[in-house]
């Protein structure tokens, strides 16, 4: 039994922030959950799927975030409690529906859980989702520790039902992927019954059709939507998760939320200034409860706002402070605009410490300077950087090897439009720097469709694009349809590694099994592309010769969009993980290292972590612990020194 459904009230478990959110939703009796994988959010749907049978839950990995939100909204319309989850970039994808949903309102409690990634630790940007709450006029909650990640989630379902609208909970990497003690509450016995009441009058929120249709009468829906937000602000005045700790009248009031709460707590502890500063930790960051803010602004003349990335909370507090100035007096603010906290990258206790030291003029020396200097010097000389690369045995390394060589052989300066997946590393030397554009999900094919039409203006370069199998369903299909319809000549290399690999191998519409382990209708990518009208070829990227040959043929021949499906399972997939196809070894009598004229092709250029260089003997070696046994390196060695033997 999963510890997440431990029904002993008061028991404590060590939970990841993401697991705490799951437990909070379970304690609220959630029934329907949907999402699209994206670090750092993916554990949430994974966890729901594992306990689906025990708690009568439906969980799905949807085709994309917009569909996930729609699936969860349908459950809400039918009276159930539901949750959709995505990383920050996914909120952009879902935002079109979100704007309409915020307008139509919801019935059963519904949450949007977004996991932002300040510092872009596992994202292509650190774009933030908080601004969406303001933009589409819905409440925003941000848990300040792990217990709160659970409790606030449970509370949010009630809030959603009180105001009849979707509520957004925003986590960050250092909350979602960090862990802490969480004390469990009771799990309710739910007897869900789904029914969609839609026969009542238009705009009747209980019985009518749920629609977002304002036409020329914004007061009919937009007015009531804003009243919901005002009601939320009133409820936030007494929200138990907004807390103040510190003296009645501190020298400095720190206002913070989310993981920054933990950094602030740590910094105040390190500097031993508990008697000088007060901490207002806000869980309800939009809309801000005005009376609570006023009471706390009255405490001090100096206010320090600690948050990550954009000055969102800072801006919202300043607006209130301007309105309240006649009563509270004029405040001095510290934060992003004052230059005390950066607007780029994630925060940590040290950044908060150095800001506090400047604001309060404290003499603080954090570390032993001699040690610091010597340890840094040691790291400089002894700890070479660990650049990102594809896993040993990754099919993408082989694919990019072939793409790189096919473009070189073609000789017309072709380029690849990249997309989102592990293959973003195609921009780096680990992918032979083959990828030359990189933006959002599906954008590689869209850009390629556009580049393909530039021939009339003189663009003669062959246009290529890559996308993964999950990305294909998520957002590349409309771009491919566009290219085919408009006869835009480009070659899409569909890197089919049989799952959403980057985020932990989640299933997608092409998978035969869904996240709950139920048989699913696997949609055939090849058949889709053919039906759309593309010329389609399939190759195994581990077969370098055939892949390059097909690629060159497709680049030179045929009109319109062409698709080369490069099909080989991810090295970490259940079907390949821990199973070597080949035992690979280097014959030292044949490998003559630097002298063979290949410029150490296998180690210096191919760059698989499974091949290492023996500095003493000046030959290549296979690290058998790391090697995944794909055997591709045996095919690139010009003298046949790398041997592969099929594992019996």
């Amino acid at each position: 039994m999963s510890y997440l459904i431990d029904n002993r009230e008061g028991v404590q478990h060590l939970l990841m922030g993401n697991e705490a959110i799951v437990r909070g939703a379970l304690e609220a009796g959630v029934n329907v959950t949907a999402g699209y994988p994206g670090t750092p959010s993916s554990e949430i749907i994974e966890a729901f799927s594992k306990i689906a049978g025990d708690r009568n839950i439906y969980a799905e990995w949807s085709t994309n975030e917009k569909v996930a939100m729609e699936v969860a909204a349908a459950a809400s319309f039918a009276g159930l409690r539901s949750l959709c989850v995505m990383k920050q970039n996914g909120v952009n994808v879902a935002s079109d529906f979100l704007l309409h949903l915020a307008s139509s309102g919801t019935r059963g409690g519904m949450l949007l859980v977004t996991c932002d990634d300040p510092g872009a630790l596992s994202s292509v940007n650190e774009g933030e989702s908080r601004l969406f709450a303001k933009l589409v006029e819905i409440p925003l909650l941000e848990p300040g520790d792990f217990q709160e990640a659970k409790d606030l989630t449970t509370w949010a379902f009630g809030l959603s039902e009180k105001i009849k609208n979707i509520v957004m909970i925003r986590s960050v990497t250092r909350m979602s992927h960090a862990s802490g003690n969480v004390t469990f509450g009771p799990l309710p016995e739910t007897v869900p019954h789904a029914e969609y009441s839609c026969d009542g009058p238009l705009l009747d929120t209980e019985t009518g059709p749920v629609i977002s249709m304002i036409l020329a009468a914004p007061e009919l829906q937009h007015g009531p939507q804003q009243e919901k937000l005002e009601k939320a602000a009133r409820l936030f005045e007494d929200c138990p998760f907004n807390t103040y700790t510190g003296p009645e009248a501190p020298e400095l009031l720190i206002v913070t939320s989310s993981a920054c709460n933990l950094y602030v707590r740590e910094a105040v502890h390190l500097l031993e200034i508990d008697d000088r500063v007060g901490i207002l930790k806000l869980a309800t960051t939009w809309p801000l409860p005005p009376n609570l803010i006023k009471q706390n602004l009255m405490r001090a003349d100096r206010i320090f706002v600690v948050e990550e990335v954009l000055p969102t909370l800072e801006g919202n507090i300043k607006i209130l402070a301007a309105d309240m100035a006649p009563e509270t007096g004029i405040k001095t603010f510290y934060g992003k605009h004052s230059g005390h906290i950066p607007s780029v990258g994630e925060l940590n206790p040290d950044i908060v410490v150095s800001a506090l030291v400047r604001i309060l003029d404290i003499d603080y020396r954090p570390a032993d300077a001699t040690f610091e200097y010597e340890a840094a010097a040691l790291a400089d000389t002894m700890a070479p950087n660990r650049g990102m690369t594809f896993c040993p045995g990754c099919p993408h390394r082989a694919s990019f090897w072939s793409i790189h060589h096919a473009i070189a052989l073609d000789g017309r300066n072709g380029f690849v439009c990249g997309d989102i997946g592990c293959y973003v590393m195609g921009t780096l030397p680990s992918g032979y720097s083959t990828v030359k554009t990189l933006h959002s999900m599906g954008s590689g094919s869209g850009l390629a469709s556009g580049f393909g039409k530039l021939k009339q203006f003189g663009l003669e370069q062959p246009v290529l694009a890559v996308c993964g199998d999950s990305t294909f369903f998520h957002a590349a299909m409309p771009a491919l349809a566009n290219a085919i319809h408009h006869k835009s000549p480009f070659t899409l290399m569909l890197l089919d590694n049989r799952g959403t690999a980057m985020t932990g191998f989640q299933p997608h519409p092409g998978s035969p099994v869904d996240v709950m382990g139920e048989p699913a209708q696997a949609i055939d990518i090849e058949a889709i592309c053919r039906a759309m009208g593309a010329k389609v070829e399939i190759a195994d990227p581990f077969n370098l010769e055939k892949t390059q040959e097909m690629l060159n043929h497709l680049m030179e021949h045929g009109e319109g969009a062409k698709v080369l499906i490069l099909r080989q399972a991810c090295a970490l997939s259940p079907e390949r993980r821990g199973k070597k196809k080949f035992d690979v070894s280097v014959d030292e009598t044949i490998c003559i290292g630097e002298n063979c004229g290949c410029n150490r092709l296998c180690t210096r250029i191919f760059g698989c972590p499974g091949i290492t260089w023996d500095n003493d003997k000046k030959v290549s070696r296979i690290d058998t612990i790391i090697c995944a046994g794909c055997g591709v390196c045996a095919d690139i060695c010009p003298v046949g020194a790398i041997r592969k033997k099929e594992v019996a």
Binding site: E374, L378, P384
Partner: protein
């Protein structure tokens, strides 16, 4: 019997290594052992791109009272456990101090720029000497070699965990480990994990 109190609150432990070495598992097991003994534990993990050859690091904060920052303030680690030798040096520079206790595996995993010949990997003997000059309390263990003798290199993380517990500094015991590992691995591999743990405890005390 180990101590039942913390010498410092919060007490900070870093477990570091390279993606795929079982770093996250080790931090979760250690964290569970402490939570089961009534402590408040916060773990911060950086593992977003770790499966693609990157460094990976877990920060554990142990307290009798509350959660702390999932990122340890610079220079304030109490114990650093490294599953890979150069990662030990890297973490030492950011979070070390003259009083830190360091336990490191000796088996290198070469970064791709070393494989390519763009950077040099130090000799492990040189590295040990330099680290010992900086940190009096440093222990090096051939954990991967020992794990290979036991049949699976992944057990290196459990050997290193055994070495940490064997220091008798943290308020946890061998029995705590049995409970925590039992919740995470299949019943038929518990004994093997216990053997790895016991071996680590012995090696850590040398």
């Amino acid at each position: 019997m180990n101590s039942t109190r913390l010498s410092k609150d919060p007490y900070s432990v870093i477990i570091t290594g390279v993606g795929g070495q079982g770093n996250v598992m080790a931090s979760r097991v250690l964290g569970s052992m402490l939570v089961n003994n009534g402590f408040s534990v916060t773990i911060g993990e950086t593992f977003g791109a770790s499966q693609r050859g990157g460094s990976v690091m877990s920060h554990l904060r142990i307290s009798e009272t509350s959660s702390w920052s999932p990122q340890i303030p610079k220079g304030t680690a109490d114990i650093i456990v490294s599953l890979e030798p150069i990662e030990a040096v890297r973490v030492l520079a950011a979070y070390g101090n003259p009083g830190v206790i360091l336990l490191s595996n000796t088996r290198p995993i070469f970064p791709v720029n070393v494989i390519k010949g763009d950077a040099a990997y130090p000799s492990v003997e040189e590295l040990k000497k330099s680290v010992r000059r900086l940190i009096p309390h440093s222990i090096f263990i051939e954990a991967t070699e020992e794990a290979l003798k036991m049949g699976n290199p992944i057990l290196a993380n459990i050997i290193m965990l055994g070495a940490v517990v064997g220091l008798n500094i943290l308020p946890i015991t061998r029995e705590n480990f049995r409970t925590a590992i039992g919740e995470r691995v299949s019943p038929d591999t518990v004994d093997l994990n216990m053997d790895a743990f016991d071996l680590g405890s012995r090696l850590g005390q040398q």
